[in-house]
Amino acid sequence: MSITEEAPPLADALLDCSIVEMGRLMREGSASPVELAQACLGRIERYDGALNSFITVTAEKALQQAEVAARELAQGLDRGPFHGIPFALKDNIDTAGILSSSHSKIFENRVPERNATVAAMLEAAGGILIGKTATFEFAIGGPSWDLPWPPARNPWNRDYLPGGSSSGSGAAVGARFVPAAIGTDTGGSIRWPAAMCGISGLKPTYGRVSRHGVHPNTFSLDHCGPMTRSAEDCAVMLGACAGHDPRDPGSIDEQMPDYLAALTGSVKGLRIGLVRHWYEDEATDEVVAAVDAAVEVLRGLGASVETVTLDPLRDYVDAKTAISTAELFSVHEKDMRERPLDFGKLLRSRVMVGALVRAEDYVQAMRWRAELTTRTMAQFSRFDLLVTAGWMAPADPADADGVDFFKKRQLATMPFSLTGMPALNIPCGFSSRGLPLSLQIAGRPFDEATVLRAGDAFQRATDWHLAKPALG
């Protein structure tokens, strides 16, 4: 079957629907999983040559899965709200029989025999795998032009970058190639591309989504999570991929609520701590204004908002950086000793330097992590949620000579990486150049439901998440 010949004229309109709407259309017979998959594949074929969001497109497999899903739904076998929904996986996630390269020459021809748990769970939920997405090499470093595949571009303006490290997942969802993708997040790698691409990205609680079969970046900080256009869609995808996995030592056996049912549309009575000192002097003026305005929306919806002072952002960033740098070297030390030139320069620098971190530095950073986490968690006696900027600036230009991520701004995503709390980035405005800006909402461990509820209530009252980039 050709990818596009069967695509209906309104295929792209189908991709404008939310996941819940797609599900309704499929169940009432107005659309089929096959039409949805074809719509995704057709749009990728038309536009991804300019965005490089996919490393591998699994068209044949996708259409086969979609036909199975169509048959199952027609027979009344309903696997739930993710059934028939197209999705993409970041390329550091193992997929049986499909290239899983981590966007690196080191793994240029690596085809695993088994699926990562997150991939298997999404397929068991009836999801349709459309392909594997670009990433920063091994999910760290930065966009590199010296790798086997080019870096992804921003769908809002291809002269800009989509953030990272889940760069292709962010670009693919932002471009409406797929309604959902999985990213991984160690210091902000779901939330940064979500912020840059105008989508919603949730880093769940550490231990909520299995990392088994996901290439490690930093064992003690790695997370997998959904990247979609809305908080509601994040709720659907999280429900399909979260849960205890004994194969992942970091996985935690905690009860899972119905995330979709938790979206009441209301934030009335929620107590929100605004961590303004993290971004007020660090972010661009446009980000400060957009985040402040978003907070006023939440206040207007009935949440109580009070400014709170936590530890300085740099403390969280320093502790996270020391931990990551040490753990990252332990992952790559063999290749770094034997074939350093097979890494891209950006990643090589980040890995090599880990060799110089002493064991004492690592343990002291982990002790500091415990202290910072304890103080952050103490805020939840006063608040239900913490909010701050999602990212400090709009997207960076796609300039190979101008990328130096050692020198980038302090990252407002890192406190919630270090503390393991769930954190959601959602669109809250645009820069003067038309690039998306983002609000971050964080909550208690394993209380993704309240985080998503607040994000969804915000999105019912605003339309930033509905804006669509012009690709053609």
């Binding site: 004994p246 030592p249 020391a322 070297f329 620098s349 110089l356 971190v357 982990m366 415990a370 020198k407």
Partner: protein, 74 residues
């Protein structure tokens, strides 16, 4: 609790970085050594800012649960 912030107190010299790299098993070309020196100039200040001098009993954020490493069927 009194905590000091800077151990070691002085930034590493190029010669010291070379020794640390050798101890880590990295045999670097001159070009790669320059990359390492540049990268360390960004990471070293982070390491020097780590809080130290803690109470002896302050636990790190490691928790070891031996049940997590039991064999898994299938």
């Amino acid at each position: 609790m009194s905590m000091s912030k800077t151990v070691p107190p002085e930034p590493a010299t190029r010669e010291e970085i070379a020794v640390l790299a050798k101890h880590a098993g990295l045999n670097l070309t001159p070009e790669l050594f320059e990359e390492l020196v540049e990268a360390y100039s960004h990471v070293e200040p982070t390491l020097m800012r780590l809080r130290r001098g803690r109470d002896r009993a302050d636990e790190p954020a490691h928790v070891f649960d031996p049940r997590k490493f039991m064999p898994v069927e299938g």
